[in-house]
C-alpha cells in the first residue's frame, strides 16, 4: 500500500511506478490538436474552453459541440489549430508585460478628484 495515493478525482489511482508517456511511440499518427473557443451568449466574447483532436476543421467543430456544449453553454464556437497559435509566456514576470507595469497614470484611480464633483 506504501506507493499508492488517492489523488485521482474519480477514485484512488497509483501515483508512483506509473509511466508518464515519455518514450511511448503511438502506433498511428494522431489527429491534429485544436483549441476551442465558445461564445457563451450574445454580447460576450468567445472564451477558451479546452482542446480536442480532429482530422479536419468540420470534425473539430462537431466534436467541439459534443464535448463542450452539451448544456447550452454556447451560441457560437471557434476552433483553431493549436499549432497556428502564437503565445506569450503566461508568466507574469515575463518582460513582455513590463511596459504596462509602471504606468499607473493609465488607470483612473491615479487621479484625485474632490468628493463633491459628481458623476466622475
Amino acid at each position: 500500500m506504501s506507493n499508492l495515493s488517492a489523488e485521482g478525482g474519480h477514485g484512488a489511482v497509483p501515483l508512483q511506478g506509473v509511466p508518464t508517456g515519455e518514450g511511448v511511440t503511438p502506433p498511428e499518427p494522431e489527429w491534429p490538436l485544436w483549441e476551442v473557443f465558445v461564445r457563451g451568449k450574445r454580447g460576450l466574447n468567445h472564451v477558451h474552453v479546452g482542446s480536442l483532436h480532429a482530422a479536419d476543421d468540420r470534425m473539430a467543430l462537431l466534436h467541439a459541440r459534443d464535448v463542450y456544449t452539451r448544456r447550452n453553454e454556447g451560441v457560437s464556437i471557434w476552433v483553431v489549430r493549436a499549432d497556428a497559435i502564437t503565445a506569450s509566456s503566461p508568466d507574469e514576470k515575463d518582460p513582455m508585460f513590463a511596459p504596462s507595469g509602471d504606468k499607473v497614470y493609465r488607470h483612473p484611480t491615479f487621479y484625485d478628484i474632490p468628493d463633491n464633483v459628481p458623476h466622475m
Binding site: S5, A6, G9, A12, G21, G50, P90
Partner: protein
C-alpha cells in the same frame, strides 16, 4: 554560502523554482507554459491521465444497462450520463496534454495496462438499481474528491474539474431519484436497492484511497497545492453527507460500526477491506479483465473510422490546395 556561489548568483533552476514556489504560496495557479519542477509535472500527468482513464472506463458499468433501461425516460437519462463520462474523459485528456504528453500516448499506456484507472469500475453492475447506486454513492464520492480539485494549483486541471462538477450534480441527483422511485415500489424493488447499496458502500469508501498514514504522496501533493484535503478528511465528509441521505431513502449501510459520535461531531465508521482494494488496483478486481478487453476492442474496432477520417481530411486538403 560560499563566495563562488555569491559571485555567480544562484543557479537558473533555483531562481525558477523559487518563482514556482512563490506562485503556489500565493495560491495562484500554475499555467501550462510556466516552468515547473519535473516531479510536479509527472505527478500531474499520472493523476490527470488516470483520472481521464477512470472516466472512460467508467462508461462501461452503466453502459451495460442502456439497452435494458426500464423506460424511455430512464434510457435517455442514462445515455446522457454515459455521454457525460466520455466528455469528462476528454476534458481531462485535454488538460493532461497541456503537460506535454499526447492523448494517444496515454491511451496506449492504458491499453497496455501500464497506467491504471479507479478500481471502483471493476465492480459489476448486477441490477438496474446499480445505476441509481452508482449515481448516488459513486458519483457522490467523486464529487467529494472533485470539488476541492476545482481549486487545484494547476490551472487546466482546475478548469476541467469545474466543468465536471457541474455535470456530476446531475449524475448524483438522477441516481438518487431512481433509487427513491424504486423505494416507493414493491418489496422486491426495495430489496434490490438495499442489496445494491450493500455491494457498493465499501467500494465507494475505497475511492478515497488508503488511510492517511498509508498515503505517502499526500503531503507532497498538498504542498504543491494539487490536492487540498487528505484521503481521510474526504472519506469522513462523504460518510457524514451520506448517512442522512440513506435515512431519507430508507436504506442502511452494511457497517455495524457506523454511528454518530457526539464528541467528534462526525460519524464513526469501519475500514473497508484494503486487501480487496489493492487487488483491484493491481488488476485483479472482479471485472478488470473484462473492462480492459472491452476498451481494447472498442479502440481496435474504431481504427477504421480514424483511418477513414484521416484519409478524407487529406483528400479534402488536396482538393482545395
Amino acid at each position: 554560502m560560499t563566495l563562488t556561489e555569491t559571485a555567480r548568483g544562484p543557479a537558473p533552476d533555483a531562481e525558477l523554482e523559487r518563482h514556482f514556489e512563490a506562485t503556489i504560496a500565493r495560491n495562484d495557479r500554475i499555467e501550462p507554459r510556466d516552468w515547473m519542477p519535473e516531479g510536479y509535472r509527472k505527478t500531474l500527468v499520472r493523476q490527470i491521465a488516470q483520472h481521464a482513464h477512470s472516466e472512460i472506463i467508467g462508461m462501461q458499468p452503466e453502459g451495460n444497462w442502456i439497452t435494458r433501461a426500464p423506460s424511455l425516460r430512464r434510457k435517455a437519462i442514462l445515455l446522457a450520463k454515459v455521454q457525460d463520462e466520455a466528455g469528462h474523459g476528454l476534458y481531462l485528456y485535454s488538460a493532461a496534454e497541456t503537460l506535454g504528453v499526447s492523448r494517444l500516448e496515454l491511451t496506449e499506456l492504458l491499453l497496455a495496462g501500464r497506467q491504471k484507472y479507479s478500481s471502483i469500475f471493476n465492480y459489476p453492475t448486477l441490477s438496474y438499481a446499480d445505476v441509481g447506486t452508482i449515481g448516488w454513492l459513486v458519483d457522490g464520492a467523486a464529487i467529494c474528491n472533485q470539488v476541492p480539485l476545482c481549486r487545484t494549483s494547476y490551472g487546466p486541471y482546475g478548469r476541467a474539474m469545474i466543468r465536471v462538477c457541474k455535470e456530476e450534480s446531475f449524475h448524483q441527483r438522477q441516481g438518487y431519484e431512481l433509487l427513491a422511485t424504486m423505494m416507493r415500489g414493491t418489496d422486491e424493488q426495495r430489496a434490490m436497492v438495499q442489496e445494491s447499496v450493500d455491494r457498493f458502500w465499501w467500494p465507494a469508501l475505497m475511492m478515497f484511497g488508503p488511510p492517511d498514514a498509508d498515503s505517502p504522496n499526500t503531503a507532497q501533493s498538498m504542498a504543491w497545492g494539487i490536492k487540498r484535503n487528505t484521503n481521510d478528511e474526504l472519506r469522513q465528509k462523504f460518510v457524514d453527507m451520506s448517512v442522512p441521505q440513506a435515512e431519507a431513502l430508507g436504506v442502511t449501510f452494511p457497517d455495524p460500526e457506523l454511528r454518530w459520535n457526539e464528541e467528534r461531531g462526525h460519524h464513526d465508521f469501519g475500514q473497508p477491506d484494503w486487501e480487496e482494494f489493492m487487488e483491484g488496483v493491481k488488476g485483479n478486481g472482479p471485472c478488470n479483465a473484462q473492462r480492459m478487453a472491452h476498451r481494447r476492442r472498442a479502440h481496435e474496432d474504431g481504427a477504421w473510422v480514424r483511418e477513414a477520417a484521416t484519409a478524407y481530411a487529406a483528400k479534402q486538403r488536396k482538393a482545395t490546395a
